[in-house]
């Protein structure tokens, strides 16, 4: 029940955030030529067990684009994973495993996809037809120093102005005390846009 409630709340937050911002895309509309390719970068900024060879970072993701309303509807009904493949189109889907995390190159994973076909059409028409671009990833980090397995869902979403240059970055880290956080890069088009999906927690009673 509690899991369900939290899932519902996260869904509610995402819906509301996206819904309240999607309109800005319309107001910012104008002529737009999509970039030749789109890029997604996952970056593991730091972790306490970075220099421990037993530490591991692996991630599986799907990267999708859909009409804003279709995306909002999917989010508002609880982001049902079993129906995600029916929302919009797939841009990319992959998994990777990285070890030897002391090397910076092993803490970054870059995906580049040529803009063609339906992706080209959707991005070209995004000034008239709002598009939601989102990543649904599950990340697994084993931090050997903390002896802790961290498995979290990472699911940033961007609207058109925030994705105008065709690149997105998702940065994650584990602090020295073991707390986990991730952020999606702040889009330059709107500084006020939230950069992170946040779970609402309980206000403690005094």
């Amino acid at each position: 029940m509690r899991a369900c409630t939290i899932r519902g709340i996260v869904a509610l937050l995402l819906t509301m955030w996206f819904a309240t911002h999607i309109g800005e895309a319309q107001s910012a509309a104008g002529s737009y030529s999509p970039p030749k390719e789109v890029t997604l970068i996952f970056e593991l900024q730091d972790l306490p067990g970075r220099d421990d060879p037993r530490s591991l970072w692996e991630l599986t993701y799907q990267w999708r684009i859909a009409d804003g309303r279709a995306f909002s509807e999917w989010v508002s009904t609880g982001m049902d994973s079993t129906k995600e493949s029916q929302v919009g189109i797939l841009i990319s889907k992959q998994s990777f495993t990285r070890r030897d995390l002391s090397k910076a190159e092993n803490r970054q994973f870059k995906i580049t996809v040529p803009v063609a076909g339906e992706l080209f059409e959707r991005l070209s028409e995004s000034t008239q037809r709002n598009q939601a671009i989102w990543v649904d990833a599950t990340v697994h980090i084993y931090d050997a120093k903390l002896n802790r397995q961290i498995i979290e869902r990472v699911n940033p979403a961007w609207r058109w102005p925030g994705f105008k240059d065709g690149s997105a970055r998702v940065v994650m880290q584990i602090t020295p005390l073991g707390s986990w956080s991730w952020t999606s890069a702040r889009p330059s088009a709107n500084k006020n846009q939230p950069t992170e999906t946040k779970t609402v927690t309980l206000p403690p009673r005094p």
Partner: protein
Amino acid sequence: MNARFTGLAVSILIAAAAAPLVAQKTDAGGGQQRAAKKISTAAAPLAEQFGERARQMISNTADESLKWDDRITAVRVMSRAADLLWVDDPERARRWLRRAWEVTGGVSVADAGGGMNRLRGQSPRSTLYTTVLLVAQRHDPELANQFIGKLADEKEKSAEESRRGVFDDRTARSEQLLNLALAVADENPTLAANIAEQSLVDGISFQLQLVLLILHRRDPKAANRLFDAALDHLSTAFAHASEGQAIASYLFTPGRVTGTGQGNGTSLAVVADGAALKMTPAQADPARARQFLKIMHRVLLNLPAPSSTPNPTIYAQEIATLVGSLRGGFSLYAPDLLPSVEHRMADFIPDLRPATGASSSSPRAENMRINSNSNDEQEINKLYLEALEEAADKETDLIARKLAYVRVALMTKPEDLARGQRIATKIDDAELRKQVISFLIYRTALHALEKDQIEKAVELASAALPLPQAIVLITAAQRLTGERSGKNVSKSTGSDLHALELLSEAERLLKREDKFNDTLRVRLGLVAALAAIDATRALAAWTDLIDAINQASSFDPVETSAPRLTNLQGFSTQLLLPRIPHGYGLKDAVTPLARADFESSVSIASKLTVPSVRGLCMMEIAQSILEAKPEAIRRLKTEPIVKSRN
């Protein structure tokens, strides 16, 4: 290891269950009244002697606390000293309390070593104000009023506290009044209602709904009186949409409220610790719900147009969110008023961001989901899990499949351990599989403890759980068994030698895990458990623990809950683990120790190197003596039973 822990568990349970029988045997024979009188007479000089020592310790510690760098602990110590010694010396107690109030004024977020809640900006200063106020309210309500009066002047919060949370209370004064009301609501609902009513001078604050909820459960008349006072305020001085939302939340969705973020227009929903009510306050009293809706109807119809406000978009969003919270209530309790409200809202649409219509429907969808039949929800969850498992079975990407199984296993209900374990066995990664299964067992055991199923929890602890988790479960089970028997501390009996042996082994093994500060709390829980069986061994363990605390990078002397010991963190699993709120703090360890051997406890505690930790520990020891029953004092050793090891 498993066999050992099974034996340990059984021995501890036997020992704890036997404790009351031993006590009863001691009392049997002569008449109970005669025995009690004899004990009381014999204990009187000792009680006086130890009581005087304890008071002196408290007094010295409170005076010393002014020199500490740790101002938060200093305020707590001074407040507690004032509380404990008020009867002996009210003037001195008042001085401590006034000093504590002054020191609190200088406490910052940095003192607490961390950030504030993003949603409710309750600062460490606010918490400490409440601590001081509670003592003042208990002994000298006039002094409490003076303190609150000072808060009324605190119009501007410091820069660090100016990051207002969406669900902050209206003013510092109303926040403290409602904190006070919450603190006394269970034991004195009338007083709580009176205090909360005073907060209405500053408007209706977020926490009012929590006070109303507790009062609704404890004293419906007091709740209704406070509710009516809040309605009076709404009808005459409505100032902000959040005021209507706090009351709407209480009536229609107890414990849940939506709000509009100030910075970016993001709407949020908060789950507060609302009571699990069989029916909402609105269902219980439809007439009052309608009365509220009539007032809100009038307020909404008379609202100024967004264009006449400084920030039309935010204002329009706030009102749209409020109306979204009220729409369900209007439909049920005042359907005749809804059309005119909807009509009025049409005036706000041009100022709303274009897609806000979708956002206003989301809270309704959420409420429908929350209020849906729980059996339906269970069935939906079951089907959803089945669909996810099937999707994982079909996944061809090995990493994706592995992580999908982890997710589905963690999504199972704690009560359905077998299902979770079955799914987890499909995880194609031995270490990860082991961690997930271990987590599922620990989670189920904690749920069993929460439901008072002690034997089941102990049985699970004896399964393949890592040592700290097993210790947490067993020590918690031991304490619960003692509480269930109505007796917490027993003397050692011959039957629990095996338990002692194993607890000692566990203690030795735990020492190896010093690298995590969390383990310190497990060891405190272990000392508390040992103290219930063998004080001498517990004191030895306590001596070793002092060294570990001195070497630790950080130690919270106030925290009493069991640490959330899992090596697995994922999908909010940590948040979903039941908490064991007591039994793992400094207080839990030193209280039974001090009552068993006061001198040794003081001597060992004096080796703590951080002044505030040492001071708080002395405070706990002294308080445990002051609050002990005469029989416990009679058993106190006048000479230390453990010689200090240097």
